[in-house]
Amino acid sequence: MIEVQGLVKTYGNKRAVDGVTFTVKRGDILGFLGPNGAGKSTTMKMITGFLRPDAGRATVDGIDVAEDPVGVKSRLGYLPESAPAYPEMTVEEFLGFIAEIRGFRTPAAKTAQVDRAIKLTHLAPVRKQSIETLSKGFKQRVGFAQAMLHDPGVLVLDEPTDGLDPNQKNEVRSLIKSMAVEKAVILSTHILEEVDAICNRVIIISQGKVVADETPAQLRARKPGARLDEIFRDLTRGDI
């Protein structure tokens, strides 16, 4: 469960995130929508403890990120934008490193965890290949495997389907959906159909502020008959 209260982050004189508040419960898949530069990634970086907020607080399972960052980080899985990974390592080595840091120290526990993640994300054909030689789709899946390796209760995914082909997108979506029953998931995207496909809640953020927080059905009902991207454009007019 994620609780975010009045998060603020300022870069220079630009307010990237301006008082964002929301909660995500177990079983929720929250779609985080907004134009580029609206503050989606910055908000996620503050929840995951990579950036320190200038004001407000974020808690995961009741633990404040500012007070116990390591506690929060061990409870959540995070896929950063464009899935960074150490390019010279093989998929297996990389996931092994993550497993060790996540506390799976014995060789048996480590292998079990790595095998499970590789199986879930269908990485078996490339497990001995170094990450720099992988295609974008595979790289994204490595990032995904890394995020869910320790079976966290909370998943934060920054554009998990970015750069994937339609088949891979479908696959990642069904993976997220199948896992979300007992997890709280936040995923950012700017693909509107994705929200319809997997999310049961939508937050639209524009110029650092939340402008809509509702179910996809409610979002549609704002302007019956209109396409989702029209509604999106109406809501985020300030960013244009």
Binding site: K73, Y86, M89
Partner: protein
């Protein structure tokens, strides 16, 4: 502190997963050995069974070579975005800094110890004082740690490896030149004597010299260890900012 091990392991093996390690080891050993045998080193001319002519160039070579090892420590993580991955894993900044530093230091120690054929050579040619050779190796490894602390700090300040290298080189050069009388004389002209004297105490050469003569002076050991401690502390501060 239990997360240091995986970070250390990844970083250390990382040197060998890319050509960096091999290029560095070959360059380091090639340059250091040829300098010893050159007319500047005078390995044979000295007529002494010792490694002084080999180690006398170390402070100079470290000025260039340690920044080459240290420049990637943080700059590369920042550039490729893996720093975001690392710091959203359940590790503290101190663990990450120590793990990476120790990996780099261990790599440098291996590079230094791989010069053992030089020691074997003097052992074959004469009867060297093995005690002196051991303290010299110890001093060289400590000095490498001091240099690396400076370079790790410089690397944390930028995501550009070239800037990181230049910053490290500049800082290392200053720490090196503080030991030369011509340099300190100039300082004495500009600064009060006490300040100039205090600054001269920060030189790598002054503190390394005793080791090459077989003396382990606690003052020198403390100098290198506290330099590492101080730079690594600043390293944590810079990364958490």
């Amino acid at each position: 502190m239990r997360h240091i091990t995986p970070i250390f392991k990844r970083e250390f093996l990382g040197y060998f997963r890319s050509p960096v390690a091999y290029v560095f080891l070959i360059a380091f050993l090639g340059i250091s050995v040829s300098l010893a045998f050159s007319r500047y080193g005078g390995f044979f001319r000295a007529g002494v069974a010792g490694l002084e002519s080999y180690f006398t160039f170390f402070p100079w070579m470290f000025m260039f070579l340690v920044p080459a090892v240290g420049m990637r420590l943080w700059s590369e993580e920042k550039r490729s975005g893996t720093v975001e991955l690392l710091f959203t894993l359940p590790v503290t900044t101190l663990e990450a800094v120590l793990g990476k530093f120790l990996a780099g230091w261990a790599f440098l120690a291996i590079a230094i110890l791989l010069s053992f054929p030089m020691a074997l050579t003097v052992g074959y040619l004469g009867a060297p004082d093995w005690g002196v050779i051991v303290t010299t190796y110890l001093g060289a490894i400590l000095m490498a740690g001091g240099y690396l602390g400076v370079c790790s700090l410089a690397s944390a300040m930028t995501k550009n490896q070239v800037i990181s290298f230049v910053l490290s080189l500049g800082a290392c050069a200053i720490l090196l030149f503080l030991g030369f009388s011509s340099f300190t004389d100039t300082l004495e002209g500009m600064l009060p004597l006490a300040v100039a004297d205090a600054l001269a105490n920060f030189s790598f050469i002054t503190h390394f010299d005793a080791f090459t003569k077989g003396i382990i002076d606690p003052k020198d050991v403390v100098f290198f260890l506290s330099l590492m401690g101080f730079t690594l502390f600043l390293n944590v501060v810079v990364l958490e900012r």
